[in-house]
Symmetry: C2
Subunit: 216 residues, 2 copies
């Protein structure tokens, strides 16, 4: 059995839920509340499993109980262990384009707007809500603009032609966050069109934050 430690609104956990669903893999979810108890990811139980104290974490009980942290490491692991259906294209140059866009979201957009960072801005640096929201939208706008340009190469197709994969598993959660913080999306028609093709699919519907058992 695959066990996924996550949180309904964690963007990184949302990526992995999409990837698991796209591969048609069954998994058990274990909710870890990011706010309750001062953040359950810092509690001794979870910390013993994942010293990074971040979500998500995958535990593969069939494979000696291997524990994998970091959403993109988990997706790469799933791709290696369960290669069909693939989430990455076969050609190395195309794989690199997908990874470069996914990593742009995972490294240069999302971590800057993660809950712990927003908390630090407020509590340690005394940043007011308005300036914090401007920070949020600034990094989203820069990031989505770059992804929008990168999507030109896909010419209206999904990253696997007619199928979504690794790229869409990263993009749709980022777009969910952008909408949640009322970012203006008018400048990103390719992203919005790609999301419109993915969001009705069952793999994405079942992975959506509001569809999770721990959603509030």
């Amino acid at each position: 059995m695959l066990k996924l430690y996550g949180y309904w609104r964690s963007s990184a956990a949302y990526r992995v839920r999409i990837a698991l669903n796209l591969k048609g893999l069954a998994y058990q979810q274990v909710p870890v509340h990011l706010v309750k108890d001062g953040g359950q990811q810092h509690g001794a139980d979870y910390r013993a499993l994942n010293p990074q104290q971040l979500l998500p974490l995958l535990v593969d009980e069939e494979n000696g109980g291997v524990r994998v942290a970091q959403s993109l490491a988990i997706i790469e692991y799933l791709e290696e262990i369960f290669p069909v259906p693939a989430l990455l294209p076969a050609d190395p140059a195309e794989r690199a384009q997908v990874r470069a866009l996914a990593l742009h979201i995972a490294c240069d957009v999302h971590p800057l707007n993660n809950l712990r960072v927003l908390q630090y801005l407020s509590s340690e640096l005394g940043v007011a809500d308005e300036a914090k929201n401007a920070w949020y939208r600034h990094w989203v706008a820069l990031g989505l603009a770059a992804v929008e340009e990168g999507l030109a190469a896909f010419d209206g197709r999904l990253s696997l032609g007619e199928r979504p994969g690794y790229l869409e598993a990263c993009l749709i959660p980022q777009l969910y966050n952008a909408r949640r913080f009322n970012c203006d999306l008018a400048a990103y028609p390719r992203i919005v069109a790609m999301a419109a093709r993915c969001e009705p699919l069952e793999a994405f519907q079942l992975a959506a934050p509001e569809a999770q058992a721990d959603a509030q």
Copy 2:
């Protein structure tokens, strides 16, 4: 020919230089100055190559001029195109451990302390230098503590046993940054020991910021 657009002090470019050297690949470097001209990465010439406007960028002229952004996407690409010597272990569970630690550095430490973020803290949020340095050290301390725990599994070995690879290519540049900002490293003996084994190696020496032609 492989062409690497970078900057001597860019931590992400430093990772790729190490990876290229570990694989024994010849490459031509093209310096892009992150401060001069308002940041040459934002100039029209570089932006046309990489809409992400970040470093590094690899151009593989032998392979149709494919352009790959994002240091980890570049390293994965190199691993696929030039598999020997490998920078990742062969076993999927071990690969996942390496990627999870590398991604922790690349997603959850480095982007928070990137030049553009420090500039935003100063110029947009009016954060004073002292608080900015505390911010820097805060994310480094959290990140290195997690990596230190993760290294326990390696039991004093390098990530490929006697050889460094993907993990060390990410860790040593992060340690370089930590030293540059006077972060206290006493709590990370495994990291320091791993670095002490890597830093004398030619692949790391030749990749060091101060060894680059554009170093100032």
